[in-house]
C-alpha cells in the first residue's frame, strides 16, 4: 500500500471531538480517518458515514441456512432414502423446524462475522499503522492526509485550534499488510520527511 504523510490530532474527550470533527469536515483538508477506543455513538453520523448493510448480509445468510436445512432434510426423507419411522409421514415438517432454526442462526452468525472481518479488514496476522498508542486506550484521534506538502504546517496549526491536546506529523503506510506486531516498521520513527 501507498506510504503517505499524515497529520495526527489527539483529543481526550468526546465532547471536544464532535465539534472538532465538524470543523475538520468543513475545513476542506482531506480527512483520513477517526480512531476511538470504544464505540462513540453518533460519530458515524457526524462523519457523514452511511449506515452499514451488515445486517442485510446477515439476513441473506440466514435465509440461505433456512433453505439449506429444509431442502436437505426434505430431499433426504422424500427422495434420497425414505425411512418409515413408526408410520410417520416422510415429509415431517414440524420435526424439521428445530434443525432448520439452528442452521438459520448458524449460517447468519458465521456469515456475518466473516463478512464483518472482511469489511473491517481484520484477521490474525494483519497489521495496520497505529497513529497513537493510546488510540485504543483513552484518546480520540483524528488523522488528516497531507496531500500537498506545502500545506503541512497549515493543517497542523488548524488542528491545534480544534482543541487537540497533541498534534503530530507521521509518515505511514495506509491500509493493511501481514506482519508481527512486535516488529516496528522502518518508516515509523521517521516522523518528519526531509
Amino acid at each position: 500500500m501507498a506510504v503517505k504523510k499524515f497529520a495526527v490530532a489527539c483529543y481526550d474527550d468526546e465532547a471536544v471531538l464532535f465539534p472538532a470533527v465538524d470543523k475538520v469536515r468543513n475545513s476542506g483538508y482531506k480527512l483520513h480517518d477517526v480512531y476511538t477506543p470504544f464505540p462513540v455513538h453518533g460519530l458515524d453520523v457526524a462523519l457523514g458515514q452511511k449506515e452499514t448493510d451488515l445486517h442485510i448480509a446477515g439476513f441473506c445468510y440466514g435465509i440461505t441456512g433456512t433453505a439449506t436445512a429444509l431442502g436437505f432434510m426434505s430431499w433426504i426423507f422424500t427422495k434420497d432414502w425414505s425411512i418409515n419411522y413408526g408410520g410417520k409421514p416422510f415429509f415431517a415438517l414440524p420435526a424439521f423446524i428445530p434443525i432448520t432454526f439452528e442452521l438459520t442462526v448458524m449460517f447468519a452468525a458465521v456469515g456475518m462475522v466473516l463478512t464483518y472481518c472482511y469489511l473491517n479488514q481484520i484477521m490474525p496476522g494483519v497489521k495496520k499503522h497505529i497513529f497513537h498508542p493510546r488510540q485504543t486506550d483513552d484518546l480520540f484521534v483524528i488523522v488528516m492526509e497531507i496531500t500537498d506538502p506545502a500545506s503541512e504546517g497549515e493543517i497542523v496549526d488548524f488542528l491545534k485550534t480544534t482543541g487537540a491536546i497533541e498534534t503530530d506529523v507521521q509518515v505511514a503506510e495506509e491500509g493493511w499488510w501481514y506482519g508481527w506486531w512486535h516488529k516496528e516498521e522502518k518508516y515509523q520513527n521517521q516522523k518528519q520527511l526531509a
Binding site: A15, F18, P19, D33, Y35, T36, P37, F38, P39, V40, H41, G42, L43, D44, Q49, T52, L54, H55, G58, G62, F72, M73, I76, D80, W81, I83, Y85, K88, A92, F96, P98, I99, F101, E102, L103, V105, M106, A108, A109, V110, M112, V113, Y116, N120, I122, P124, G125, V126, K127, H129, I130, P133, R134, Q135, T136, D137, D138, W180, W181, H182
Partner: protein
C-alpha cells in the same frame, strides 16, 4: 448530541473516580502482572482434576461403557445428568450478553465477558458427556449428516437427540463468535500498551489488527446487535431442545408439555448462580470491585429468585398434572419420585432450588457477598439434583416390575464428572489471567452515563426544572 443522563434512582455501575485511562489500567493490570501463587495453585489443582478425568474416560473407552453404573433399566445416569447440568450453566452468559443487551440493561457490561467465557467452557464440558456416552466414541461422527459408504444412511432428523447435536454445536459456535468479536478491540488495547515483545506479538495476532476506526466501530455495533438478536431465540431454543430429549418420549415423568419453559428457567437459574460463584471470587482476586459492584450481584440475585420461583411452580405443576391426568403410570412415577428409594434426591432438589432462593426476597441478603456465594453453590447443587431426579427417578421403575432397579454411579462416572470440573476451571484460570475479564471498551462506553463520578456531576443538572434542563442540553455545545 448524545445526552449523557441517567436517573439517580439507579446506582452507579462503576464506582470510584474513573477516567478512561484508569479503566484500561484497572482491567489490564492483572494480565500484565506475574501470576500469583494462588493462581498457580488453583491452575495446577484444575489440571490434576482434568488429568483424573482423562484417566477415567480412557478407562471407560478401553473397557467399555460397562464400567459405568448404568444398566438396562437406567440407561441414562450421571452422564446425561451432567450434560444437562453443564448446558444449563452455559445459559447465563448468552442471556446476559444477548437478552440484556436487547433490553438495554447497562449492568450487563460489567459481567458479560466473564459470563460468556463461562458459557463457552460450560458447553465444552457438556458436549463431552453425550459423546462418551455413545460407548464406541470413535463412531461419534455418525451423528453428522455426512455422505458415507454405509449406503445412503443419514441420521434421523426427526429425533430430538439429533436436534441436540445441531442445537449444542450452533450454540457453542455462536457464543464463541459473539464473545470473540467483543474481545478483539480489548486485545488491541492490551497490544498497544504491551511492554514485552512476546505480549505484543501474541496479542497482536489475537487482536486481528484492530485499530478502532469510526467505521469499524459502526460495524462492530451492528454485528453485536444482530448477534444479540440471533442469540436470544437461540439460547431459548437450546434448552428447549434439551428438554425435548425427554418431553418427546413416552416415559412417565418425562412426557410433559411444561418441560421447555421449565428447563429454560432452570438453566437461567443455575447459570446465574454459577456466574455469581465465579464473579464473587474474580472481583475479589483481581480487585475489580469497582466494575463488578454489589449492585451487579444484587441484580443477578434478583434473577435467581425469579427463576428459582418459576422452577418451584413447575415442580408443583408436575405433581398436580400427574394427579389430574388420572394416568396411573404418571401418578406412580411421581409417587416414587417423592417417596420412593430416591426420596433424598427429590427433597434435596426442593430444598436447594425452591426454598433457598426465597432468602433473596430480602435486600440485605441479596447484597451480602458471603451469603450470595454460599447460596450460589447451594443452587447449583440443587440444579444438579433436579436433573438427577428427572432422569434417574423416571427410569429406575419402568413398565416392567421385574426390571426395577436402583442406580448408583461407579468411580469412572464420578471421575468423568470431576474431570469436566478440571476442564472448566483450567479454561477459566487461563481466561482470568490472559484475557480482559471485564469488557474494557463497553465499560468505557457506559462510563459517562453510569460512572459514579460522572453521575455526581449530573446532580446539578438533576435539580433544574425541566425547562432549564432542556435549555442546558440544547446549548451543550
Amino acid at each position: 448530541m448524545h445526552l449523557k443522563y441517567e436517573s439517580f434512582v439507579r446506582e452507579p455501575l462503576i464506582n470510584g473516580n474513573k477516567t478512561y485511562a484508569q479503566v484500561t489500567e484497572d482491567i489490564c493490570r492483572p494480565i500484565e502482572q506475574k501470576p500469583t501463587r494462588l493462581w498457580y495453585m488453583g491452575f495446577i489443582f484444575s489440571l490434576l482434576l482434568l488429568g483424573f478425568g482423562a484417566f477415567s474416560v480412557t478407562w471407560e473407552v478401553y473397557w467399555g461403557i460397562g464400567t459405568w453404573g448404568i444398566n438396562r433399566t437406567v440407561g441414562w445416569g450421571w452422564d446425561i445428568t451432567n450434560f444437562v447440568w453443564w448446558v444449563g450453566i452455559g445459559h447465563a452468559g448468552t442471556l446476559i450478553s444477548a437478552i440484556l443487551l436487547l433490553f438495554r440493561q447497562g449492568w450487563r457490561t460489567g459481567v458479560n465477558r466473564a459470563a460468556e467465557a463461562m458459557t463457552i467452557f460450560a458447553v465444552m464440558c457438556a458436549g463431552q458427556f453425550p459423546i462418551f456416552h455413545m460407548g464406541r466414541v470413535w463412531n461419534a461422527f455418525y451423528v453428522l449428516p455426512l455422505p458415507n459408504t454405509r449406503g445412503a444412511l443419514w441420521p434421523n432428523f426427526n429425533s430430538a437427540l439429533l436436534w441436540d447435536v445441531f442445537a449444542i454445536s450452533t450454540y457453542f459456535t455462536v457464543s464463541l463468535l459473539f464473545w470473540y468479536s467483543g474481545l478483539v478491540p480489548d486485545f488491541a488495547t492490551i497490544r498497544d500498551r504491551a511492554k514485552t515483545k512476546l505480549r505484543k506479538k501474541l496479542y497482536g495476532v489475537a487482536s486481528f489488527g484492530w485499530t478502532g476506526t469510526a467505521k469499524n466501530w459502526q460495524r462492530f455495533e451492528a454485528l453485536s446487535l444482530v448477534l444479540a438478536g440471533l442469540s436470544t431465540p437461540l439460547v431459548l431454543s437450546v434448552h428447549t431442545i434439551v428438554s425435548f430429549d425427554f418431553a418427546t418420549s413416552v416415559i412417565p415423568g418425562w412426557h410433559a408439555t411444561i418441560f421447555p419453559p421449565y428447563f429454560v428457567a432452570g438453566a437461567v437459574f443455575s447459570g446465574f448462580a454459577m456466574v455469581n460463584t465465579l464473579l464473587v471470587l474474580v472481583r475479589k482476586i483481581f480487585r475489580l470491585e469497582d466494575y463488578i459492584t454489589i449492585g451487579h450481584i444484587e441484580a443477578m440475585n434478583k434473577v435467581i429468585v425469579l427463576t428459582g420461583s418459576i422452577v418451584g411452580v413447575a415442580y408443583l405443576t408436575e405433581l398436580f398434572m400427574a394427579w389430574y391426568s388420572q394416568v396411573v403410570y404418571e401418578q406412580e412415577a411421581f409417587k416414587w419420585r417423592v417417596l420412593g428409594p430416591y426420596w433424598w434426591s427429590y427433597w434435596a432438589m426442593m430444598a436447594c432450588n425452591v426454598v433457598s432462593p426465597q432468602f433473596f426476597w430480602f435486600k440485605k441478603l441479596r447484597r451480602n457477598i458471603v451469603f450470595t456465594f454460599l447460596l450460589s453453590i447451594v443452587v447449583n447443587i440443587g440444579m444438579w439434583f433436579e436433573r438427577f431426579v428427572i432422569i434417574v427417578t423416571s427410569l429406575y421403575r419402568d413398565y416392567l416390575p421385574s426390571s426395577w432397579t436402583y442406580y448408583s454411579p461407579t468411580w469412572t462416572e464420578m471421575g468423568f464428572y470431576i474431570g469436566t470440573f478440571g476442564l472448566f476451571f483450567t479454561c477459566f484460570f487461563l481466561f482470568a489471567k490472559y484475557f480482559p475479564v471485564v469488557a474494557i471498551a463497553e465499560i468505557k462506553f457506559t462510563l459517562k452515563t453510569s460512572g459514579d463520578n460522572y453521575k455526581r456531576e449530573m446532580q446539578a443538572l438533576d435539580e433544574k426544572t425541566v425547562e432549564e434542563f432542556i435549555h442546558v442540553a440544547e446549548h451543550a455545545h
